[in-house]
Amino acid sequence: MTRPLHIGFIPLVDAAALIVAVDKGFAAAEGLDVTLVREVSWSNVRDKLNIGLFDAAHLLAPVAIASSLGLGHVKVPILAPFNLGLNGNAITVSAPLHAAIMGEIEGDPFDPMATALALARVVAARRRRGAEPLTFGMTFPFSTHNYQLRFWMAAGGVDPDEDVRLVVLPPPYMVDSIVNGQIDGFCVGAPWNSIAVDLGVGLILHFVSDILVRAAEKVLAVRQAWSEKNPQVVDALIRAAFRAAEFIEHPGNRVEASRILAQPQHIGVDAEIILRTLDGRLKISPDGTIRQSDRYLLIGREGASRPDPAQAAWLYAQMVRWGQAANAAEALRTATAVFRPDLYDAALGQQGEPTAAPGAVGAFAGPPFDPDDIAAHLAAFDIRHRKS
């Protein structure tokens, strides 16, 4: 019997496993009749998932956690039995800010500590001459983009709440906003960094994989209550997404996958831009400079699709660090339990490769992450939200 499902997504490259699962028939082969619903905001995806208009969704990992904790919004327990992508974001800055950072940099321009320290000097110089603080765009208060920008700049001594402005902007508006000077840089997922570079309005300063070796980005999210009532459907969804991720990661399929994703009802941009993202070969400057990384976006390879509870704990720690959540053992348990490798393993049997190094967030600054002692871990960082 075919099971009709409505799944919401935002047109971003890391929705690939869901889109390909439907387009290539992996979902149908599992007995699922999936209607993908393209959405314009994370708020919409979250609300429609919460009230049951969507059975599942492509969701920012921190939104799944925030929803389960009732942060900023209604408390609806959400589960993530499948990770749709690791990494995939980048920090893009305007040409003037790029020049300013490069003017101050000491060391390797791809070393995030070197750029963060340079940014701190740029910020200090602006303050001395009474210039407006720099403004950075990110996609949502509970977003990896928000935490990654903050983590990076704070490591160089820039307080993201005091020294610069961080504003939420829908990804399609990032490019315009950098053109008209509303923002000086942004952190966003693919394909938006490449679009800014292609239009000649920005330079990619960092891949997020420079900042964190493994960063859980989007998850396949379902309501806990729905999941408990429909265990076979959840299994089928995991298997379909797993096959799709395998398909996408096969280098011989990348061109076809890019074409599927590029279609107007999916992401609706040039297939070539999507191919760059999947291949991790990005044009980082309007002058044509290419930078290659095998860590730019991971969809399934290196165990990327298996949810790692330590990643959920890291995201929760960022919520605590920046004052979005109080540090509480109970909340940490709830946050960690959002990521469900057990459901993933149950659905895939022997096929799910266990994560080689679970919990390896691999941040460029600070001590190794300890999910069991968030307070001690955060104490190692000078810049963090302090109760006023």
């Binding site: 905001s41 919004h73 509303q182």
Partner: protein, 196 residues
């Protein structure tokens, strides 16, 4: 002006017609203090400057995510809370999502008052969708008429039919093939293009 006398309502909507319909509905219901924002640039600073009690935004607007920032620890003077926080009223949440509208309120506004504002927004949004549908249907009916007239002309010329006979031929073919007359007419136009 305090929230209890006449709450200040901001409508965030890129559709000027829908915003006008909503604005009119709110004014009729006695809400005099209504401001429409159609420009999404610097949305948050505009909202902070207006300092509204209620914000209404359509769900097709990507800037909904921008509003989420208002619930964060920030320098904002007032902290709005989301409509959806009222979990006791799932029917009204459903109705508002179906209608495509979402409302945010600032702490302190009575729930009953927001309910009446939201109900009004829902009905006006639904009225607008109905209007839009009718307009789309009228447009496509007009399009069909043009296509049918041209197809009739081709049939009259090729087969030496009168206008009435050409129409009857189109209609009977449509009935036999279980298609719309407009579709049959379109295929005649396409065929005649190909055979030119």
């Amino acid at each position: 002006m305090g929230a209890e006398s006449s709450p200040k309502i901001v409508i965030v909507d890129e559709s000027p017609i829908r915003a006008a319909i909503l604005q009119e509905g709110l004014r009729e219901a006695g809400y005099a203090d209504v401001v429409h924002i159609s420009e999404m640039q610097s949305l948050l600073s505009r909202i902070y400057a207006l300092d509204p009690d209620v914000i209404v935004i359509d769900l097709e607007n990507p800037s909904r995510d921008v509003l989420e920032q208002m619930f964060q620890v920030s320098r904002a003077v007032r902290r709005p809370i989301a409509m959806f926080v009222d979990q006791s009223d799932s029917a009204s949440i459903q109705a508002s999502v179906d209608a495509g509208v979402s409302a945010y309120i600032v702490d302190g506004l009575k729930k009953e008052r927001l309910k009446s504002i939201l109900d009004l927004c829902i009905s006006r949004f639904n009225a607008f969708s109905k209007l839009q549908d009718e307009l789309d249907r009228a447009k496509s009916a007009l399009e069909d008429r043009k296509v049918i007239d041209r197809a009739k002309g081709i049939l009259m010329k090729l087969k030496g039919l009168t206008e009435d006979e050409a129409y009857v031929l189109l209609r009977s073919t449509a009935m036999r093939e279980k298609k719309k007359i407009g579709e049959i007419a379109q295929s005649i136009l396409t065929a005649s293009e190909l055979l030119k």
